[in-house]
Assembly symmetry: C2
Homo-oligomer: 345 residues x 2
């Protein structure tokens, strides 16, 4: 493997000083790009995920168009559920639909904990993407966290109130912990596979965990996430721990693990960093809707975030959640350049 | 008017000591009750709201069934939009649908700021409910806050990401402030009307404001909410300020105003109270989904909240958001009794 030409992102993950603040965007390969739409015109999401050439191609698209400091492998958060025995499809414009949602202990017992070999195609995508990147920027691997995966598996798709998930948790605590334990082991294996294939950092997406009270997070989620981070420590790559709506969970998320904590826009970056402690790095936290604003408004918001980061080593600029469909590409480009320009050392 | 037989709620709003912690539930008159369903079987939501006899009847239903310490007038959050010129209907199971959503400055300019007389029927409902309550418990009036009302008016209904609302805010800041100013004046008039009709406390529901960054809240929302609380101060009744997902907004919400701050379950009650300061009262904060849990689980959660309230005067027990449809009534009853029993002085 050729050595990296741009190490800003990895250095910031390790809280080392950098020439300027690294920036990448969650869901930076997505529907807002015509070249992504072109691929999707003839391939479903799952086809792209399961065809390493296509996954690698899509992974590189934002890197080719914008001077972002990291690539993230193109994959779907639900992929690891498939070898567990959970069947799903993507309904057009509806998001994922689980065909056999988990509703009781017996469903949990039936779930397979695979060693990850059924997900080898993601490893192949990573190898191909690494090769195609040729050291330009590091490649991030990722997985959904147990709670977020469980919420899809139990609700049968996306949710607003997580009513079925929480009911399961409250009414069947043993089955819940068994489910979370299985998911944690699957996710650990899956991320190990990605790291062994060449992922130079990995991010755990606990996207929907912010619907929980801090007490419920501590009891029903934290121990399982901790297991994952414990299991990945020895792999030696930076571990990012991300969620949305987590203002009151940050201390607990930090306790659960991660070298970098990813925060959304609903908390000031400086307050979040003070809460998690300066001995971990922080990633965030522009509201994705800001990218629809005029440039001078974006500028004001980016400046505010950078001011709150205070030039301290260990800040990775990102959105607070994924890039939205229809985001204007010129605003994405301008934001990357702005972050680099405003933080030049 | 007969004097109040139960002043626990009003005393707690004023942070006076009480014989036990008062409890009421947001949306305590709702679909989970058969007597409510019976009324709704032959009347639409708007018919109930606009027929003072029915509104008063529904308002009293939870008070007749459970030993709650306050009633809240039955009304819909969108009512004040109607005399402004915004037309809406309730699609079955879909929530509200706005027929002429606000999309530009001209739409904002067209909005009427009424003196509240078009909402006199809410005043009549309050008078009838007060009479029917006959001093049993105090009656709370309420209104949606400007941001939450604006989000419905702009999105055209409920929303998950508030994409159109935030775009409006970022792209048309002047029109946004003009809209918020009009809404703030309408809401102030509306709440004054309710107080004059007999509401013994009022709650401002900024239910969806938690989607904003603290910076955006401070700039685009706070001054308008402040205007409302300033305008209501001289009315002499307790003012409750509520939102969900507001962990990182609490300091600002407190600055905006209110004698009581209502918080949801996504923050520990003790941390929230320490944040807003002990010179205001606090209301909350059981996850509404908890009411679907077995009784011993509810008990554990209620005990935790009461422990965090620490016996300090000024805690009003409530859910973190409205009671959900299908909530088991026996769990609602048990929760009220539990709070009373565990806090007996």
């Amino acid at each position: 493997m050729r050595s990296l030409m741009n190490e800003r992102f990895l250095k910031a993950c390790r809280r080392e000083s950098v020439d300027c603040t690294p920036v990448w965007f969650m869901r930076q390969a997505g529907r807002y790009m015509p070249e992504y739409q072109a691929v999707r015109a003839s391939h479903s999401i799952l086809e792209v995920c399961k065809t390493p050439e296509l996954a690698a191609q899509v992974t590189l698209q934002p890197v080719e168009r914008f001077p972002v400091d990291a690539a993230i492998i193109f994959a779907d958060i639900l992929l690891p559920l498939e070898p567990m025995g959970i069947r799903f499809e993507f309904a057009e414009g509806e998001g994922p639909v689980i065909q056999n949602p988990i509703r009781d202990r017996a469903d949990v017992e039936r779930l397979q904990v695979s060693d990850g070999s059924a997900l080898a195609y993601v490893g192949d995508s990573i190898k191909q993407a690494r090769k195609a990147l040729s050291g330009l920027v590091p490649l991030i691997g990722f997985a959904g966290a147990p709670f977020t995966l469980a919420s899809y598996a139990i609700e049968g798709g996306g949710s607003k109130q997580y009513l079925v998930t929480k009911q399961f948790m409250y009414r069947e605590p043993e089955a819940w912990h068994r489910l979370m334990d299985k998911l944690a082991r699957v996710v650990t294996n899956y991320l190990q596979l990605q790291i062994q294939a060449g992922a130079q950092a990995v991010q755990l997406f606990d996207s929907w965990v912010g619907c929980l009270s801090p007490g419920d997070y501590e009891e029903y989620v934290l121990p399982h996430v901790q297991l994952i981070f414990e299991g990945l420590k020895r792999e030696g790559v930076p571990l990012i721990h991300f969620g949305t709506g987590t203002s009151a969970l940050l201390r607990l998320m930090r306790k659960a693990g991660g070298d970098v904590i990813g925060v959304d826009w609903r908390v000031h970056l400086d307050e979040a960093w003070a809460t998690i402690g300066y001995d971990v790095a922080i990633q965030g936290n522009l509201d994705p809707v800001s990218l629809f604003a005029p440039l001078h408004e974006i500028e004001r918001r980016v400046e505010d975030i950078l001011r709150r980061a205070g030039g301290r080593p260990g800040h990775i600029f990102n959105l607070g959640h994924g890039i939205l469909p229809n985001t204007p590409m010129e605003q994405v480009a301008a934001t990357v350049e702005l972050v680099h320009k405003l933080t030049q050392r």
